[in-house]
């Protein structure tokens, strides 16, 4: 009898239902030596163990359960009642027929709108165009930040496709593409097709320029270049690399870019007449200098420079002296008027200009 009392107490103890007075009693049993305390420890330990569920069985059952959940089966309750069951048997057929008809109607509508509406929809894509002499900074609706240099055109959809984001660029732009998994960003230019995987980079591909450039600042991009023979070549750019493509010969170079102190070489010459705001402290890449309103050349021909100036200031150049086209020059301008720039060029390279309306004649 005493032992039975002990089992009751132990049961209550394990189940945390034991009363304080009973606790004393249980302790007394332990001390009495009639009970092996080790056994109690084993049982307590066993009691604390969590049941070891068969996970494979549970996973399989959960699968079936989820399928059931997604069905959201409300009909079963309708069929529970025999009266309703027989009464509605025919009408259910009718409702399903109606459902099919409605579905067809909607399908037809959407098909109709796809074929005829879509092409004439004016807002399906947007064009951002910067005039010569102006620049633009804006965001696309996916959060991508774009700086569009002057004389450039960016064509982009108002709402991006779910699978990929695609834009068309002619000219120069700097992109800060917001990273999105499974939704790569593509930039199509006349010479490059760029696949982006969340990154910052500069693309330059003006129609008239002899060189098209893509410069990667950070991240990773994939360049696809289609040459004259329609052969596609693929490059993967690493950060701080620049791919230059000759649009005529389709020669391709990949260079490492370096941060440079953009030093205005004409500064010393022009010290007295035009105190240039010092930009010597800023180190930056020549390729992205335009973002900071800096016009920078690094050993480029005056013809190339004139194309830049044309876009930058919206002036046309006429070369009366074709030798001047080949003068190589390096230099940096920041926030300066076209008059100042021309004066600097005149002093440092001996090129003479005449300005008429919006036309610059090189003599």
């Amino acid at each position: 009898m005493e032992k039975n009392r002990y089992y009751h107490l132990l049961g209550r103890h394990l189940n945390t239902e034991i009363l304080d007075s009973e606790k004393e009693e249980l302790q007394a049993f332990k001390r009495s030596q009639r009970i092996d305390p080790e056994l109690e420890n084993i049982i307590s330990e066993y009691w604390q163990q969590q049941p070891n569920f068969d996970q494979d069985f549970l996973n399989a059952t959960y699968h079936i359960h989820l399928a059931k959940r997604s069905q959201n089966k409300p009909q079963q309750k309708i069929f529970d009642l025999k009266l309703i069951k027989t009464f509605f048997k025919k009408s259910i057929k009718w409702t399903s027929f109606a459902a099919v008809a409605i579905l067809l109607f909607f399908l037809g509508r959407s098909w109709f709108s796809k074929t005829s509406y879509l092409n004439s929809k004016p807002n399906s894509s947007q064009i951002k165009k910067t005039n010569l002499g102006t620049k633009s900074h804006f965001f696309l609706n996916d959060g991508t930040e774009v700086w569009l240099n002057s004389g450039s055109t960016l064509n982009y959809p108002r709402q991006f496709n779910k699978n990929k984001r695609e834009v068309q660029l002619v000219g120069e732009a700097y992109f800060k593409v917001s990273h999105k998994n499974n939704q790569p960003f593509y930039i199509n230019t006349p010479n490059f097709k760029i696949k982006v995987l969340g990154t910052e980079f500069n693309v330059k591909n003006y129609e008239k320029d002899a060189w098209a450039e893509t410069t990667l600042i950070s991240g990773k991009i994939e360049l696809n270049i289609i040459d004259k023979k329609d052969i596609e070549r693929q490059f993967i750019l690493k950060p701080k690399e620049k791919c230059i493509l000759n649009t005529q010969s389709h020669a391709i170079m990949v260079n490492k870019i370096e941060k440079k102190v953009l030093q205005d070489k004409t500064e010393t010459i022009l010290e007295n007449m035009n105190p240039i705001e010092s930009i010597l402290n800023d180190t930056t890449f020549v390729e992205t200098a335009w973002l900071n309103n800096i016009l920078s050349f690094d050993n480029q021909s005056f013809f190339d420079v004139s194309e830049h100036l044309k876009r930058w200031y919206n002036y046309d150049f006429i070369f009366e002296n074709s030798k001047a086209k080949d003068v190589m020059m390096s230099g940096t301008f920041k926030n300066q008027s076209i008059d100042q720039v021309l004066k600097i060029l005149e002093y440092s390279f001996g090129i003479k200009f005449e300005v008429k309306d919006k036309i610059i004649i090189v003599k």
Partner: protein
């Protein structure tokens, strides 16, 4: 089944529609619920269906379940009521009263022996599996579902005294089995 854990999961489900929490809930409750259902129905697939329906309802009425004070007990009560409904509806099932059925697999269904090699635990496991059906059910509800005597009593429609007695029987048998094993060890 730990009530606090279940409450946390139900909160996650109600607030965030958290699929992961829902899976956790299923993994923690399903076997207990369907074993409990089986104790009434003696029909494995019916018991599974009822357990599944109970958990399905959680997803349908997330907010409602978030407010329940004692979800563990609530789930089991819903299972019990569903089972009784089935029994009263379908007399063809010819259900047998609890103590008449000796199904070896019932209590161990969906559970595996613990991998931890403990000779004593194995002895206890086998002793429990040989307990009378009702005693085994009460033992499992107390140990695995961590239900209070009162909760078990109302779920099984028996008195707290009976539960007390049944658990004492289970512990007595376990202790006796362990003593036997210990004696054998000493002899060896």
């Amino acid at each position: 089944m730990d009530n606090k854990k279940i409450k946390d999961l139900l909160y996650q489900i109600a607030i965030y529609e958290d699929e992961y929490a829902y899976k956790q809930l299923f993994m923690n409750c399903f076997i207990s619920l369907q074993n409990f259902g089986f104790s009434f129905l003696k029909n494995r697939s019916l018991a599974e269906e009822i357990a599944s329906d109970v958990l399905l309802d959680v997803w349908k009425k997330k907010q409602y379940y978030n407010d329940i004070e004692n979800p563990k007990s609530y789930f089991l009560t819903v299972v019990k009521n569903a089972c009784l409904k089935v029994i009263s509806k379908d007399k063809k099932l010819r259900l047998l009263p609890l103590h008449d059925v000796k199904t070896e697999f019932f209590a161990d269904y969906g559970t595996k022996p613990n991998e931890e090699e403990n000779n004593y635990f194995e002895v206890i496991d086998s002793t429990v599996s040989q307990l009378p059906e009702k005693c085994k059910l009460i033992f499992k509800m107390a140990k695995e579902d961590k239900l209070k005597y009162k909760e078990i009593a109302s779920l099984l429609n028996i008195s707290v005294k009976t539960i007390d007695a049944q658990l004492a029987i289970a512990i007595k048998r376990i202790t006796e089995a362990l003593i036997k094993v210990k004696k054998n060890e000493k002899i060896q």
